[in-house]
Amino acid sequence: MTLAALYRTILRGCTSRARLVGFGAVALVGIGVAALLGSAGGDPVGRSAGFVDWFGLSLVAPVAALVFGTASLGDPIEDGTYVYLWLRPLPRWQISVAAYLATASVVVPLAVVPTVVGAGLLDRSPEVLVGAVVSTTMAAGAYSAVFVLFGQVTSRALVWGAAYLLVFEQFVARGGSGLGFLSVHSHAVSFLARTVDRRINLDYFSRPTALVVTAAMVAVMVGWSARRQSSMDVA
């Protein structure tokens, strides 16, 4: 019951109308671009996978997770309302789990729905749809965990989070499978590439590896956040 109350409170706090409208607009633009790409010639599966990669895995999932994830704990910490969640006789891991669930439950649909619709406009084969759903869910879920932690442990989490996406995910992680092993994007795109049977940049890993490592990333980030709850000072 306390976990559900925490979840509802955090979800309500991080989902402002402006944020939802903004990502709704991004979704419409993405679907519009997919519709335009659909009239082009060439390999429809390859085009569809490419759309999922740049729109779902590189744009909507990370940016939505950045915005909602950093807000989930970062906003209440910043404005001082965190004390109303933290100073209660309950296991503090519940706050981290609730924040993650709240973030993921808004980021996953915001990322997956337009990505799958757009991909479906380009190619409706089962491999493409499964690849789009699973890889975008992986990216949205893992980025959510990363940015919930960012919101908790850093001030100016949006800036640090954007720097992480631009510097690590888009630059450093492209240095090979070693660095790519720590990249959310590499694992999500690997799953997509193996599923649609096309080569995509950064597709270093097998599907089982991608799934297991992504799940492990979520567990580590949420666990780190939970552990940090007990040692942090609250204003």
Partner: protein, 325 residues
């Protein structure tokens, strides 16, 4: 809203509700709290100190919101940083005004009840809001309330689970006189019920109205503790500096020095003198009759050091903590 049985009752021991032992806290090399020790029993205790004295830091450590760098804080003998179960006995009214966006008062207080695992959280929330004279059926979100109403909502969420320890950080800030009186009555009532109520303030007159035990904090240290009246007397007994303006300032100062009403005088210009006074009551009794006898006009009698900062500076320079109690 009956208070739960203290933890000590189950263990047979009798640790105080609040024990602060040799606590220090610093931020990036700046000492916020330095070697502070005190214990707080049932009743209202006021934490008095100027802005920036370390009151909020002390209260945050007292609740477990911040960890002391040195020393220990115990609530009923339990470290609130290590064992969150003791927080069921704690209700905090934080200083910050923000509440969750778009949330009604009833939802806000109910959330606190749910997180404290109160049975019938709806009923508890309604009762807590009624206790602070707010309408549980008000549909407006709390963030549209006036400051006074928000303070009462914050108090309601702190009381909803019937805590034994109530900590309020500057709860009277921004309230109108009627709201202040009402809130002070509520705190006094909670103290009379046997709860341990800790209220911080930087306003001397507010603390006086709590009529209770006082901890005076200045520059991160405990400057004095004890009954408010004793501290007030100490404050009144200290040397005061008063500026006096008169058209016969030299004669008046000489007369006051001669009859012992002042202990020192320093001329400031042609019509003013700064007087050092040890016995304020005696000075008050003598100044007007003396001026009348001399046929001197009194244009100004202005205390130069009656602000709280001066009082605290004096207390910090006074013998160590506990000297007043």
């Amino acid at each position: 809203m009956s208070g739960p049985a203290p933890v000590a009752a189950a263990t047979g021991a009798t640790p105080p509700p609040v024990l602060v032992h040799e606590v220090s806290k610093w931020f990036k090399g700046v000492v916020a709290v330095s070697d502070v020790s005190f214990r707080i029993e049932a009743g209202v205790t006021a934490l008095l100190g100027p802005n920036g004295a370390g009151k909020s830091t002390l209260l945050r450590m007292l609740c477990g919101l911040a960890a002391p760098d040195l020393g220990a804080v115990r609530l009923f003998g339990i470290d609130p940083r290590q064992d969150t179960s003791v927080l069921r006995y704690v209700g905090l009214v934080p200083q910050q005004e923000a509440t969750f966006p778009r949330m009604r008062a009833q939802e806000f207080v109910r959330l606190a009840a749910v997180l404290h695992r109160v049975e019938s959280p709806d009923d508890a929330a309604r009762a807590a809001l009624a206790a602070v004279e707010l309408d549980p059926d008000d549909r407006r979100p709390v963030d549209t309330y006036s400051k006074g109403m928000r303070q009462r909502v914050k108090l309601a969420q702190a009381l909803v689970h019937g805590p034994s320890i109530i900590v309020a950080d500057e709860p009277l800030n921004g309230l109108d006189p009627r709201q202040r009186v009402r809130l002070i009555e509520i705190f006094q009532q909670l103290g009379a019920e046997g709860r341990c109520v800790v209220v911080s303030s930087h306003v001397l007159d507010e603390v006086e109205r709590f009529g209770s035990r006082v901890l005076v904090v200045a520059q991160g240290r405990l400057a004095a503790e004890g009954d408010f009246r004793a501290i007030r007397e100490l404050m009144d007994d200290r040397p005061h500096v008063i500026r006096l303006r008169s058209d016969a300032v030299r004669a008046l100062a000489a007369a006051l020095l001669a009859n012992g009403a002042v202990s020192g005088a320093r001329l400031v210009g042609d019509d003013a003198v700064e007087l050092q006074i040890h016995d304020v009551a005696r000075f008050r009794a003598w100044v007007a009759p003396t001026a009348r006898e001399l046929g001197a006009g009194l244009h100004e009698v202005l205390p130069l050091d009656d602000d709280l900062e001066s009082v605290f500076r004096y207390l910090v320079g006074a013998p160590g903590p506990g000297g007043v109690s």
